[in-house]
Point group: D2
Chain length 383, copies 4
């Protein structure tokens, strides 16, 4: 039984606020351990909204000033679910206050911010993690295991896409709740920071460091009404972003993201081509992993769709859920992340992605945006 | 905000006990309404297990005797998650005590039991529902809407399968926790009551009453060790069950279930062929619905895979979850069922499947088993 | 190089006449052997059509009376592509004249006819074959090999469907060119003889004899204009046919065919569930075979889609075509059948399905139709 | 009936020689017109092979010197199936001799060669075509029609890949029959000219001119035994090639080809994302076209798989083949190309891709290779 408590103070209450809260509530039932997570406080500027969220989700209290939240001695961990432009200030303040930190991705607006944040948490010695949740979709974690077992042999290609279509409408405004992702001031970048950041985090985790990149970006809709100013303003984000490059292991990278791919809601896919095995995955069918094993008997070789739902140690995390064949949802990836975070506290072995891990992704993001601007190849600095 | 409470007393703590508990915990966050669900008590014969489950899942108390649970005045609804052979006695006692009842499927061991139970709840005037949860997978609910909108035209065929492979091993025992489904004394039947019951419930809901059936069953493994007696005993359940038949609307039925279909973990599929539209669904990819619309322009006709994940009223239940493209899991179907049950209480309009609805499925189950025994066609009595 | 010739005389010039002719023309290029096939004569009642077909397809001559064709000494093999009601008379006459015979499926209108025909060819000692072409789709032949290698273990289930949707329109007439399949006088039966015959031939070939069946049929559109009489007449064929049954090896059969499954053009599928391996195939993607191998490492088990297009002995017939990944079409199955027929002549080892092989399918067809009529189970006589 | 003849003289007898010959033999049966194609002569340096090919495929004669073939007055059209380094010389000689020319792709070793060839055929006024056969896969032609009908609206993205895995083995030699594609002296380039050429031809046809590109190439295996010299020699071709770019219509390009993508035999795919419709296709399932139509009713939107096999004008070329649902193979694309070429002769309206059309693809190929070399963006000259 849980003998310790972990008091959470969450800042922000949007899409991610809900996803994290659900995870905090589920983790004790599906992944019971030493720690019991307590939803201590939610923080949002709008008092009515903060209060309503607290009641709906079972937070014991609410705050409207994140500095007050950080100052509270009854809070163990700060969960940052704000727009990207607030990550740095909050994270550094929380670190200084000795709080553990769970920060939404991307880590920061840019690498210098990320460096400051990373140094702050490391100096403070506080547990820290970034919500690159896709690592913990069971199918993706299974891919990681196959790679660690050395099944792929020499890797030739890594391909990733994250395709959406929700911003095609030119009359969609930018800025404000739910739409801050279109506002460069709040988001820092467009699909690169929002979507490719996920692709890069997974890629670096699965295939190692990137050494060089060459990128192009495009903003298809040049101006949008801004909900905060009430005026039509230039769009500063990248609507689409394609880059190619090289990994340190010699394999070639082909990455693309857009919010203008009609018909794709959130199609995050990756494919890795190794000498001995290829692997692919698609978020639209997140419970499946596809592999092609060259070591199969030649006449029987083919792409195999693994329904990653066995309630056994064969399939990561799944022994804690239902019975074979019954898929879990997107939301479970957050539950798994909390479970691993708690396991890291129990064992003293921090689970990634830490701020430092996320800094590598941040650096690649900066490189691709620099490449798009200069129309030149850019070498990724070693971390 | 929730102004009323609904105190749940659950009997049983297995696979379904966990699925229901998760739903009770999620419903207030994702489908907030007038009622707040309180996990009041869990009941199981083994005190240690009951206590542990209560602690892990947050039940306020536990009982080891279901009669005591029913007698408690602080319990509003009894949730029956026991093996099938206990449904009747518990349900009737609960009805007499004026409790609402949520009963696992199949309703009963056979039709006469089901009739008794149905009469008991109707006489008592208590809200009642049976956990045929697949109706509330968003893709399946969307199929129902399309049918209600009259899009299919005359229906020619209804096909359903529920294929598993987990009992192929001859050394798997029967009886006891998790394996009572193989013990005819506890389960009443094999794949027919466990799996085809789901297929029939969905079919009657989507396509109306069945008029006649002709069935065959098979028990591939004739004897299994019984965990309760410690002896090898004859297997009394059906390992596989195929039936054909007719619906009242003139369409033909082809149903099959087995636990010996190597490679299928829980492949529940149905397909309906109408004059103007065909629809199909597969539990292995539960977030998708496939349709073929004959009214499409002829050169563009094809099977369409709808990713039923839009957070809009277009896609049932999904407006309450995440953003487009992010799939929810099997477990959400229970959350939806609780949400609808509560909505039924609020509005005074009972939501199905009620005991009476489930009785129709029970009757068809009895008819197919009778047909398998007599090797004759059997007419389904009108309900 | 080819040193012998095989002179073909074909009766009929419809869909099958074209498919066979294409095969005769291709076989020498893709499967060169001792025999050179010569398109000697085409026979059709309508002189203009016979002549036009001969010119278009390169037949050296034409006839309008099949008896004359059979009487010609320069004809080695008679290819019967007529409606089913003419098979018997032609085949027996051809056998008596000492001609080899390639006969379209189903072999006959019923078993007694089939027996007469089989006895005639066997008495005459002439090479004979029936055009159950699907055996020779490379993916299907690969399935056969896997079964012969004993990879499936004990077989539990065999499932087959052949779904079409082209007769849903009630104003489609019956009878005449292209529509004789709707006229019971010419076709003998509906989907059973036209479509299920294929499914049964494959099944018996892959899974052995059937021992008992129970069947239902339906005629959805009761009357159609008859193009020969000009009157609306009762429809005598089965529009849909479902049967279940048992194979001699103890596995269960579930077969279905219909021409009222909106959205399916020619969806012939089969699936076999063995203890160690399951196999499935779909004519709509005929170049793929799906397998699930239980002997795969447990965490990597999944359905595998084999793209049966390697130009190597691994993939039947494919070494004679293109390069890996390039699919061949439906028509190639006929080319393969001719190639195998010629190989049978060369080696003296007749290749199936012979008339006798096809007789077994005919017998099962008779049993299912009898079962549908009597609404009783029917035992399949041993052949 | 055919009243004119077209005498073909083919140079080369490899993979493409067989594919073209099959097309010449099929066209009269499936697409009868004014012209009858006569296989007049095959030309190959090796007399024995030339003779054997002529006998197997029914060529009336053979030559061992292509200049003699061109000089023959009984030859109407020269079909060039040689390695790329011979295209120019042969084509120019054939043009000067007044022969029509069908030339394998890519048109030439580079743009200057292509210009010479194009000017030669245009000056000579002879009919000319390049075998970019994928345009005439019915699903691809259907995509073209949808685009011409304006269904896509503004186009945002065009993505294409051509993935193979046949050269991963480091001990595969370069040069010689079947392996000249690995020898830069014979092929000019690697996957760019062999595979991306197809992708570019389709792209320009479907989406218009490209304006700028940025490319990277890689040679994974640096040295291979050369079958002609018997020595291990440096590999001069590109094993993999990725490029991004812009089309004149403002859409973004992402192209990739490799022969090191384990598990993909010949996976040519493209996807186009338009404001109103997206389209995708995959050579591995060449008979299907996938579309997403934003104009569909919102709740029913989804990717639709069109089985492009209706024997009606709805589906290009298919009215001349079989019945709905029965797929044709890769080889049919050549038959269609010959049919269209003959139709061009009949109507006097040349059918593309002409040499001039293919020159545009050649120019883009040169640009991407230049970009890969300089690691700079390259503007594509206007043609």
């Amino acid at each position: 039984m849980a003998t310790k408590t972990l008091n959470v103070g969450m800042i922000g209450y949007g899409f991610m606020g809900r996803a994290h809260s659900n995870a905090y509530k589920q983790v004790g039932q599906f992944f019971p351990g030493d720690y019991r997570v307590v939803l201590k406080a939610i923080c949002a500027r709008d008092e009515a909204k903060a209060k309503a969220f607290a009641e709906q989700w079972g937070y014991e209290s609410f705050e409207t000033d994140w500095r007050k939240l950080i100052a509270r001695p009854d809070i163990d961990v700060i969960d940052i679910c704000t727009p990207n432009n607030l990550h740095k200030e909050i994270a550094i303040a929380a670190a200084k206050a000795g709080k553990m930190i769970l920060c939404e991705k991307p880590l920061a607006m840019n690498t210098p911010e990320g460096v400051e944040m990373t140094e702050a948490v490391e100096k403070a010695g506080v547990a820290n993690m970034v919500w690159y949740n896709y690592r913990r979709i069971p199918a993706v974690t299974l891919a990681k295991r196959l790679i660690e077992e050395g099944r792929l042999g020499r890797v030739f290609h890594y391909r990733a896409k994250f395709l959406q279509d929700w911003t095609i409408k030119a009359d969609l405004p930018q800025g404000g709740q739910g739409l801050w992702r279109l506002d460069v001031a709040a988001a820092g970048s467009g699909v690169s920071g929002d979507l490719l950041a996920h692709c890069i985090d997974t890629a670096v985790w699965l295939n190692g460091a990137m050494s060089s990149v060459c990128c192009m970006t495009e903003t298809f809709v040049k101006e949008r009404m801004h909900t905060l100013t009430g005026k039509v303003e230039a769009v500063g984000i990248d609507d689409a972003c394609i880059f190619m490059g090289k990994f340190a292991n010699g394999s070639l990278a082909n990455f693309e993201s857009t919010r203008y791919a009609r018909g794709h809601k959130a199609q995050y896919t990756f494919e890795i081509n190794g000498e001995d095995m290829s692997i692919s995955w698609d978020l639209h069918d997140l419970h499946r992993l596809s592999i092609y094993d060259y070591k199969d008997e030649s006449k029987l070789r083919g792409w195999r769709s693994i329904h990653v739902t066995d309630n056994s140690p064969d399939h990561p995390y799944m022994a804690n859920w239902w019975v074979p064949g019954l898929a879990i949802g997107y939301d479970s990836s957050f539950t798994h992340q909390v479970a691993d975070f708690l396991m890291g506290l129990e064992t003293g072995k921090p689970q990634g992605p830490t701020f430092r891990d996320a800094l590598e992704t941040q650096q690649i993001l900066d490189c691709i945006l620099a490449s798009a601007k200069t129309r030149q190849w850019v070498d990724v600095p070693k971390t």
